[in-house]
C-alpha cells in the first residue's frame, strides 16, 4: 500500500545501482565484503557410519549493497548455508567472517551479540512474538542491544513508518495480514541498522500479491543501500535479486550477476497485476 508512491524512485535506483555492480562483477573488485564464508563445510553425523554432507567447501562473499539470492532445491544445503551466514549454527570446517572479523570461534553469547548488531532476520513464518504489539516486536532487538526505552520506541516507530505500518503500531500479529506481518518482521530486521538483512523464503507463507509486495519492498530497501541475502527455492523469487547463487548438493554450481534486463522489478509486476 505504501509502496505505490515510491514507484519512480525504485526504478531509478535499480537502474543506477545496476551500473557499478555489473562493472564490479566477476571477482567483486575492491568492494568491501560485509559477509564472507570461506570453504565452509557442514557434516551431520546421522549415525555411526552415516554422514550427510550438507555443505561442501562453499565459499561466498556478500558485498555491501548486494541483493543476493541463494537458490536451490530442498536438500541442496541452502538452509544450512543460511544458518551459517546467520551465525545461528557453526560450520564443521571453514570460516565465517562478518565485516572482516572471523566469527568462527566465537562463543554462543558473542555470536548472539554479532547477530543482534549485524544481521536482521526475515523468516518465512514471520516469527513475531504473539500477543505483542508491532511496536514491541520491532523494539525487541533493541532491548538486547541495550538501547534505552525512549530511544527504542523512537527507533521502532521510525522503522515501522519506513515499512508503511505507522498506523498499525499497536496491533498484535494476529490483527495483521500476512503481508503486514512480514513487513513488521522487516521493520524488526531493519531497526538495529544491520550490515545485512537475511530473508529466508520471505514470500513462502504469503499469497502471490502480498509476496510481490514484500519483494518490491525488499528491492526498494536494497536501492536505498541495504544489503540483502535472499534464500529461496523459487527461481521466480530469486529473479528479483541482482546476483543469484545456485546451490546443488551442498556445492555452489553457479554464481551469476543478472543483467538489468533479466532482473524482475516487483513494482512492475504489481502494476501489471492491477
Amino acid at each position: 500500500m505504501t509502496v505505490a508512491p515510491r514507484t519512480e524512485r525504485i526504478e531509478d535506483a535499480s537502474r543506477d545501482s545496476a551500473q557499478p555492480v555489473s562493472g564490479g562483477s566477476g571477482d567483486g573488485g575492491g568492494q568491501r565484503a560485509v559477509l564472507e564464508v570461506r570453504s565452509v563445510s557442514k557434516v551431520y553425523q546421522i549415525s555411526e557410519d552415516v554422514q550427510v554432507h550438507a555443505l561442501r567447501e562453499v565459499s561466498l562473499a556478500v558485498h555491501a549493497g548486494d541483493m543476493l539470492a541463494i537458490v536451490g532445491p530442498s536438500g541442496s544445503g541452502k538452509s544450512t548455508l543460511m544458518h551459517a551466514i546467520g551465525l545461528l549454527d557453526k560450520p564443521s570446517s571453514g570460516q565465517v567472517l562478518v565485516n572482516g572479523t572471523d566469527v568462527t570461534d566465537m562463543s554462543g553469547n558473542e555470536l548472539a551479540r554479532v547477530r543482534n548488531r549485524e544481521i536482521g532476520f526475515v523468516f518465512q513464518s514471520f516469527n513475531l512474538l504473539p500477543r505483542t504489539t508491532a511496536l514491541d516486536n520491532v523494539a525487541l532487538p533493541l532491548i538486547y542491544a541495550g538501547v534505552g526505552a525512549g530511544e527504542r520506541t523512537r527507533r521502532a516507530r521510525a522503522a515501522l513508518e519506513r515499512v508503511g505500518l505507522g498506523q498499525r503500531m499497536d496491533h498484535a500479529p494476529s490483527q495483521l495480514s500476512g503481508g503486514q506481518q512480514q513487513r513488521v518482521a522487516i521493520a524488526r530486521a531493519l531497526v538495529t541498522e544491520p550490515s545485512i538483512v537475511l530473508a529466508d523464503e520471505p514470500t513462502g507463507n504469503l499469497d502471490s500479491k502480498s509476496g510481490i509486495e514484500v519483494m518490491a519492498f525488499l528491492q526498494e530497501l536494497n536501492s536505498q543501500g541495504i544489503t540483502i541475502v535472499l534464500v529461496t527455492h523459487d527461481a521466480k523469487v530469486a529473479a528479483h535479486a541482482e546476483r543469484v547463487v545456485t546451490l546443488v548438493d551442498g556445492t555452489v554450481t553457479s554464481d551469476k550477476q543478472l543483467d538489468v534486463s533479466d532482473r524482475v522489478s516487483a513494482q512492475r509486476e504489481l502494476e501489471e497485476l492491477v
Partner: protein, 401 residues
C-alpha cells in the same frame, strides 16, 4: 540487556496468562500462609504459657510427683511414671513447711476440673486449689471481692473465686459476689472474681478457672492427693538451698520419684517443649510450600516448552543465554514472591481471626522465614526450567511447532 528489561518481559508473560499464574501462586500462598499461621499459633501459645508462669510470681519452686528429669531425657517408661507418679499428701506438705518455714512459704496445690452451674447456665472449669497462705506464694489480684482466708481453708468452707470467663458465662450483667453456684452439685458461695489474664482457650484456662481452699477441693473430689507443692523463697538468694532441703525432706519417702523445679527451669522446659511444637508445625506447613514449589517448576517447564519458538526468536535476534535464563528465573521468582506476599497477608489475617479463640503471635522471624523460603523455592524450582530454556538451540527452537 539489564534486569529491569528482564522484569518487564517476565511481568508481561505472567500477565498474558493470569489464571495460570494465579493458580500456580496458590500453591505458594497456601504454603506460606500455613507456615505463618501455624508458627503464629505456636509462638502465641508459648508466649501465653510462659507469661502465665511468670505471672505466678518470682522465686517459686515447684515440687511435683514423678521423675521429670528422666522423662525429659527421653525415657518412655519414665514418662508414664511421671504421669502416674505417686501423689503427695498433706503430711508431705506439712513436713516441708515446718522444716523450711524460716526461709520460705509453702502451699499445697491441687488442679482438677469440674462442672460449674448457675441456674440454666453451666461451664466446665479448671479447679485450682491452694492453702491459706496462697497470697504469700503467688501474686493474687481480684477485680471484685476477695480471696479465701486461712480460716476458710481450715474449715473447708465452700467458697469460690471465679475467673472472668466463668463470670461472663454464669453472671452476665449481675454482680456475682455473694451469689451461689453449684460445683459438681455442691453449693458454693462466690467471694471474689479473679482479674482477667487473657489468652483464650489455650491459656491454661486461668480465666475459665475457679479457685477454692485445697481442703474444700479434697472434699469435692473425694481425694486426699496433693498434685504439687509450691514453695516461695523469702529471699531469692536461698533458692538453691531451699531446693536442696526439699529434696532431702522428700527423698526418704519418694526416692527419685519426684521432681523439683525452680521457675526458671520450668520456663526453660516449657520453652523447649513449645519450640519443638512450633518447629513441628512449621515443618508440616513447609511441606505444602515444597509442593507449591514443585507446582511452580511444573508450570515453568510447560511455559518453556510452549514458548520454545519465542525463545528461538529471541535468541536469533540477539538474546544471550543469560538473558533467557534471567527472563525465566525472574518469572518464577515473581510467582513465588507474589505468592509469598499474599500468603503472608492471608496468614496474618488467619492468625487475627484465630486469635478470637487461641492466642496467636505473628513473629517477624516467621514472616522472614516464610518469605525467604518462598523466594528460595522460586529460585530453586525456577532455575532448571530456565536453564533448559537458555540452552535451547535457536535453529531447533525456530523450527518448533
Amino acid at each position: 540487556m539489564n534486569l529491569i528489561e528482564s522484569f518487564k518481559i517476565s511481568i508481561k508473560a505472567l500477565a498474558a496468562n493470569k489464571a495460570r499464574a494465579a493458580l500456580t501462586m496458590l500453591g505458594v500462598i497456601i504454603g506460606v500462609s500455613s507456615v505463618i499461621l501455624l508458627i503464629s499459633i505456636g509462638s502465641g501459645v508459648t508466649k501465653e504459657v510462659t507469661g502465665q508462669l511468670e505471672g505466678l510470681g518470682s522465686n517459686l519452686i515447684y515440687v511435683m510427683p514423678g521423675n521429670y528429669e528422666e522423662m525429659m531425657s527421653g525415657n518412655a517408661a519414665a514418662y508414664s511414671g511421671a504421669m502416674l507418679g505417686r501423689q503427695f499428701t498433706v503430711e508431705d506438705v506439712n513436713a516441708v513447711e515446718t522444716q523450711i518455714s524460716d526461709k520460705a512459704y509453702v502451699t499445697p496445690y491441687i488442679e482438677n476440673s469440674a462442672r460449674v452451674v448457675r441456674g440454666t447456665n453451666n461451664t466446665v472449669s479448671t479447679v485450682l486449689a491452694c492453702g491459706g497462705n496462697v497470697g504469700d506464694v503467688m501474686d493474687l489480684k481480684f477485680s471484685e471481692g476477695r480471696g479465701y482466708t486461712r480460716s476458710e481453708v481450715m474449715g473447708s468452707a465452700r467458697v469460690v473465686v471465679i475467673g472472668t470467663e466463668v463470670k461472663k458465662t454464669l453472671f452476665s450483667g449481675i454482680d456475682p459476689i455473694g451469689e451461689e453456684v453449684k460445683i459438681n452439685n455442691q453449693r458454693f458461695r462466690v467471694i471474689g472474681v479473679d482479674i482477667e489474664h487473657g489468652g483464650g482457650m489455650m491459656s491454661g484456662g486461668q480465666d475459665n478457672a475457679v479457685s477454692m481452699p485445697y481442703t474444700t477441693a479434697q472434699n469435692l473430689f473425694n481425694s486426699s492427693n496433693i498434685n504439687a507443692i509450691m514453695v516461695k523463697a523469702k529471699n531469692p538468694d536461698d533458692m538453691s538451698y531451699i531446693e536442696m532441703r526439699v529434696r532431702q525432706i522428700l527423698r526418704p519417702d519418694y526416692g527419685t520419684d519426684f521432681s523439683v523445679f525452680s521457675q526458671d527451669q520450668l520456663l526453660g522446659i516449657m520453652g523447649t517443649m513449645m519450640s519443638v511444637l512450633t518447629y513441628m508445625l512449621a515443618g508440616i506447613a513447609s511441606i505444602s510450600l515444597l509442593v507449591g514449589g514443585i507446582g511452580i517448576m511444573n508450570i515453568m517447564l510447560v511455559s518453556v516448552s510452549e514458548r520454545t519458538r519465542e525463545i528461538g526468536i529471541r535468541k536469533a535476534i540477539g538474546a544471550r543465554t543469560w538473558d533467557i535464563l534471567a527472563q525465566f528465573v525472574i518469572e518464577s521468582i515473581l510467582l513465588s514472591v507474589l505468592g509469598g506476599a499474599v500468603g503472608i497477608a492471608l496468614g496474618a489475617l488467619g492468625a487475627l481471626a484465630i486469635s478470637r479463640v487461641l492466642t496467636t503471635s505473628v513473629t517477624a522471624w516467621s514472616v522472614t522465614l516464610a518469605f525467604g523460603f518462598s523466594v528460595a523455592v522460586g529460585v530453586f524450582f525456577g532455575v532448571y526450567p530456565a536453564w533448559k530454556a537458555s540452552k535451547l538451540d535457536p535453529i531447533e527452537a525456530l523450527r518448533y511447532e
